[in-house]
Symmetry: C2
Subunit: 419 residues, 2 copies
């Protein structure tokens, strides 16, 4: 994405400029370090760099690691960081203090919570999910089922989930906002239906936390995991988080009985004893540099009014869909995401048989969305830094790519891995 690739763009119309000028969140964009001229609609894959993060990390590197060295575990409270940042994230997802901890990756956290849930739900053999859920969610459940032998992952379409919950369902594992389609599931209704049948629910918040309202305790949720490097702007591969409702914490034991989850890790005794509360779901030593970056990203979001974030997520995505409906009609795109904002998150996807090449052609025009196999191009709207003029220009670029069949260029056909 060198600056040379960024084309000169037409000025947006007055109403678009007015929307940016009147945006109550407009001041937040300056708190991110974004490349000049780039329209970045992939914050749902890797969030942008908060402007305060480089200096914070430089201090962590030079002063905490370099100068204070091992003492920083105490003097800079590295030890407390997983719970401290967890408590901050709790404020974004309707959880209470002591219900969230930062640890490991989404994948590893899924394994911990699924395993603990299966143990509690003795006699029930099924993990219920939907086909096409984010692959790592399905894979982790498959790995666990393979390991245990007598449990199985069962998938049914999202619309059939509630009907499929039965006495054999140990845990329902769903992603709140679907990574590909952006469809948002009804957390309250599915959780209530699961509880009525004695099942637990594990929610993956990777594509919702930080972008749209999540109310775990308001929905009576049991368990959740989520990603640190998408809307939380924690940097590439930032550690993930997990939530266990307080009422369940004493009943659940992590299979990954690492020393950081021990009741007294520095007693160095031979026998594992799970720590109190959410601490027992920690495992090994956390990657502090990545964790400190995550804290900066979370702090930034906490400065914004969550109602304004949600309203802007709706306005941005609605404007984009309308723009595509108007300007790209008849050009082969079909909306994959639900049309109504009430049914989706903050990203919007379209299918096209040449989706991969379209994605590449857009990147060449300085508009970064992403491709999701086999035929989806996906655009993420991050309320804190995406402008209405960005959305307008992205629609313009997309129309141009389709009208000119820019995607026919052989240059856009070479496949590379894209997250």
């Amino acid at each position: 994405m060198s600056p040379a690739l960024i084309l000169t763009r037409a000025a947006p119309p007055a109403d678009i400029l007015a929307a940016d000028a009147n945006d109550p969140l407009r001041g937040f964009r300056a708190r991110f370090q974004l490349p000049e001229g780039l329209i970045y609609l992939d914050g749902n894959s890797l969030g942008a760099l908060p402007a305060a993060t480089p200096a914070r990390l430089a201090r962590a590197i030079d002063h905490e690691w370099g100068h204070d060295l091992i003492g920083s575990w105490n003097s800079h409270d590295w030890f407390g960081a997983p719970r401290r940042v967890g408590d901050k994230i709790a404020g974004l997802i309707g959880a209470g203090a002591g219900e969230v901890i930062v640890a490991d990756s989404v994948s590893v956290n899924l394994f911990k919570l699924l395993t603990a849930a299966l143990e509690r739900q003795a006699g029930r053999r099924t993990i219920l999910s939907e086909p096409g859920n984010f692959p790592t969610d399905l894979y982790m459940a498959q790995g666990l089922a393979r390991m245990l032998g007598d449990r199985a992952l069962r998938t049914v379409p999202a619309d059939d989930i509630i009907a499929a919950i039965d006495d054999d369902t140990a845990v329902v594992m769903l992603t709140h906002v679907h990574y590909k389609t952006g469809r948002k599931l009804d957390m309250a209704a599915i959780t209530a239906a699961a509880h009525a049948k004695g099942a637990l629910v594990l929610w993956d918040l990777s594509h919702s936390a930080g972008a749209i309202p999540v109310d775990l305790n308001g929905c009576g949720a049991d368990l959740a995991v989520g990603c640190g490097y998408k809307y939380l702007n924690g940097g590439p591969g930032a550690p993930a988080f997990l939530f266990v409702a307080r009422r369940l914490q004493d009943e659940l034991v992590s299979p990954l009985a690492g020393w950081m989850g021990h009741a007294r890790p520095f007693d160095f005794i031979d026998d594992y004893e799970p720590g109190a509360g959410i601490t027992r779901f920690a495992c090994g030593t956390p990657p502090m540099l990545s964790l400190i970056a995550l804290e900066q990203g979370v702090d930034l979001i906490l400065d914004a009014d969550p109602g304004l974030i949600a309203a802007k997520a709706e306005a941005l995505s609605e404007m984009f869909i309308r723009s595509v409906e108007t300007r790209c009609a008849g050009l082969g795109l079909s909306l994959v995401s639900p049309r109504a904002f009430a049914d989706r998150g903050s990203h919007v996807s379209f299918a096209h048989e040449r989706a991969y090449e379209i994605c590449r052609a857009l990147i060449a025009r300085g508009v970064v969305g992403d491709f999701r196999a086999p035929d989806v191009v996906r655009f993420g709207f991050t309320p804190l830094y995406t402008r209405f003029s960005d959305v307008w220009a992205a629609g313009d670029a997309l129309a141009d790519v389709l009208e000119t069949r820019a995607w026919d260029s052989p240059a856009f056909r070479v496949r590379t891995a894209v997250t």
Copy 2:
């Protein structure tokens, strides 16, 4: 550890100064950013900051994350980093290319390899280890045994391990250099004895990799894990690594079937298929900032001659033991580590009933070792940056603390968690 705490020290004798002047590794100290006046003997807990790391991380933060954003997974080969850095670490531990990958924490990697080993060793029920092994190793095995129900962790003293291996032993799990005592086990002999009984061996290299010679393939080793933030100088909580001998890679499947270990992660298909070779032991998205810091630390060690590193580890630790034997005789210390370097790693431990307070009193004198419950004070010697004059001064400070009973001060009794 403010500079105000550093006392003026006596100048070392001429032979000590000569040893530093003649040290063939003396140039490496300037490649670390160490606090002025501090004698840091805890690089076996958190390695010091390589001088090149801040600039490398600033580039990763500003340019790769901030500017190139999601494209960096390809353009800066973030995708390839776990295997690339793994291949570099392989060069330090006698492994081949494609046998090591950087992933997760030591704890999580232990779980992956123990589980995969147990599955392969069907019919054998025991994980054999030693009491007092690093707690997370024992805890992870306990968590796994608890989860599976029909397997168990059995511990016998290190000297009895070989005799204890029997037809029920699925895997022997040992730490090559003991975290507390510094005792080094005979990797070749134990591995051969295990193989003779049909057992596998999993070696934890956390306290050996980067400090003393390790020859996994020379010993016919099966499996290993190791730490990124000790002698590899990868920074606090740097990701860990794992080794699977090439001959075993196709037979073993990770229970943590994350998408980064899938054969084709970007096909986004519903069914897990383990990737080729060592890649299948990756799990979730790696913490890139911490991983990039680790690569700097590993690159630095690779610039040094491993024979010189080992020779200096011996010379430093031998000098320290002699110094304590001479200057602290009769003052209540007893050597916990093996006397002969052939039987230990690069750290040395002494027991004393007031070990905790002694450790605090030394820190107040600018000498940083660490305390390990219940009664051990531990000193790590990092050949690339520890000087002979540091070792001399540490011995001097220790003698002073003991002679003056400085540890009797109430200020040193307050306990804080120390890694």
